[in-house]
Subunit: 434 residues, 2 copies
Amino acid sequence: MKRLTSTQADFRTEFKRLLADRDSDTARVDGPVTEILAAVRSRGDEALCEFTNRFDRTNVTPATLRITPEEIAAACADVSPELLEALEVAATRIESFHKAQMPTDMKYVDAAGVTLGMRWTALDSVGLYVPGGKAAYPSSVLMNAIPAHVAGVGRIAMCVPTPDGVLNPLVLAAARRAGVTEIYRVGGAQAVGAMAYGTTTIAPVDRVVGPGNAYVAEAKRQVFGTVGIDSIAGPSEVVVIADGNNDPRAIALDLLAQAEHDPMAQSILITPDAGMADKVEQAVAKELETLPRADIARASWDAHGAIITVRDLDEAAGLVNEIAPEHLELMIDSPQPVFDRVRHAGAIFVGRYCPEAIGDYVGGPNHVLPTSRTARFSSGLSVFDFIKRTTFIEAQAESLRKIGPAAVSLAEAEGLDAHALSVAVRLAKLDGAR
Amino acid sequence: MKRLTSTQADFRTEFKRLLADRDSDTARVDGPVTEILAAVRSRGDEALCEFTNRFDRTNVTPATLRITPEEIAAACADVSPELLEALEVAATRIESFHKAQMPTDMKYVDAAGVTLGMRWTALDSVGLYVPGGKAAYPSSVLMNAIPAHVAGVGRIAMCVPTPDGVLNPLVLAAARRAGVTEIYRVGGAQAVGAMAYGTTTIAPVDRVVGPGNAYVAEAKRQVFGTVGIDSIAGPSEVVVIADGNNDPRAIALDLLAQAEHDPMAQSILITPDAGMADKVEQAVAKELETLPRADIARASWDAHGAIITVRDLDEAAGLVNEIAPEHLELMIDSPQPVFDRVRHAGAIFVGRYCPEAIGDYVGGPNHVLPTSRTARFSSGLSVFDFIKRTTFIEAQAESLRKIGPAAVSLAEAEGLDAHALSVAVRLAKLDGAR
């Protein structure tokens, strides 16, 4: 963990180093992924089952690729009523927020008499990738599937690997709550290939979303164009801005909640209160003595964690814009000025009683957020990932007379004569009709 | 050109073949592009100038990479007043539409007392790629730069290759009208690399947009993640739905306006009137005798063009949804029912006096649209490419008491104890305070 003070002489250098310290190139897996995708594209189900059985130590056939309604029901029966109720709270709130997020169509007539507008329509089909094993989070199933449903997507197919044939009951319960019933027991690049290109068993989808390992990320990158994809998630991060008026243990836990995800995660505390900085540092050390995932959290905190003492909250906001963090907590008395100054962050959690973990599960906004500084140019998952725009123009004769000649001039200047003529013949007809 | 009738026995087979006939894999250029990007990333301006001088037969140095204000002014002085006025008409209309497209922020308090919302913010910087030579379209400069300006992007850098050192006056005039003054005389993968990674001369941007050749497209694919990119354009297409009440020459020119872009372009006429089908076929042949770009247009029309005779307009709308065309013209009497049934199209042009070429230049909506059936899952360029969302949640003590316990349950079920504890310690504090 790095302790920095914004007044130290080499602060800019150290801060830049902090921003770059997770930029190392990830392992290149494009070769194997290209081969897997080509095999699935040409040999379909046969290749899909081969890879699945080899990597997941299973024995699936095209006939057993899809998880049956009976298996889903049996798995859900294993989930406690308390957890089902918690899933329900989460799902209801996620639905509600994403419904509020739906944009409206636009249509107007301008001064030239041209009708202009844009219309939103849902995608026909979406493929949802869900990681297997320890990284299988039911909350992520809700966060990916519910916005697709709210957007009006007609078909949602889900792929989840089942290493050694083991199903994850809570993942299936989350899928059921989100209305997903078409679920296949496949993972990795082969699952992405099956959803993108289609096989006999798995019909192709229009867009593939959901987190995955390096192979899944590379596969999504390679099928991009054939289908749409969501952003490719990198190591994630939190910035907590906290003043002196906080429980150091609560702040420490917020930092560790990020760190316990992944040794590559990054947790940064920014505070104008040097005493709070000390207390949180001590609290983190204490929690690490008992935290079940202390090994992962400590690796992250030691390698990438930071506590930065700043002059004031305005300076803190400026640093946040350079970090462009996935998550930002504002644990301060009057958050509005900082909130207004922050331009780049995936999601902001405001108030001492709003830790980031609320947003991971039950807040309502999506927890799939831009990582690794990509909040500079991208957004979290939303209904916008599952709809697209069609623009339209409607013009009558009089409008064409007003705006057509400029189009003819520009088309001729670009050497596109059929373009120019397609407007000019209509203008000539109008002149003839006078 | 293929003539099809929806009642013919093998129609489905032939129609599917039509949809797939441009799917051949494009040449792989990932190897050379990877090398170019690595060189620009490690050696910066030096590599950028080397590649530029080699590929464009120029003699640029870091000091002359940027096109000077004097060069821009001199180039603009070469543009006729008529063309400058046409550019002005186009720019004004494009600005107006994209301003109308800007979304609004959202904020509300829900039943649990939680404040929820999302806020849109502009990107800090954008890089605009403009192709050189014959494919350098001033209209594309307007279509890419104006939405970025309207969105509020602070810095727009533009790269345009200048083969043999020749500047394109109209491209520079369009850039000036769009408010772009930071322009570099570089192109290809090396320009994309410079904008993504930055060099001493060219500061890095947050997102790279704009059309380009196979090298540019592959470079954008490879830098995706470091920066955002727009969609990668493939061969484009138009579908014209026309009834019997049209001037066959006008329809023929609309089809040829698409075909004259590229031998890979695809123009499809769908009509319920077999007589109109014959007349348009003849009119296309006649126009090809005199069209300046007849070689390109004929190659496209012969290889990929189609005229489909259908039973009725409802059937036409169904076929459009399978094609998901970049452009759709509705040259029919009562367009609304077809308009309502079409779910997948980049842009729709409604009315006999609204040919697609209007949208290319002066309509207002963007002419950068999803090609090659990607309108199934993606949208045209817009202000949404230059802004991003930050979601936020603000919760006070009472709200946490309502929604916190479900978060604790789910976090524990996912084995993320620091997540659970970060909520639980705050809940415990509330209970202690009672």
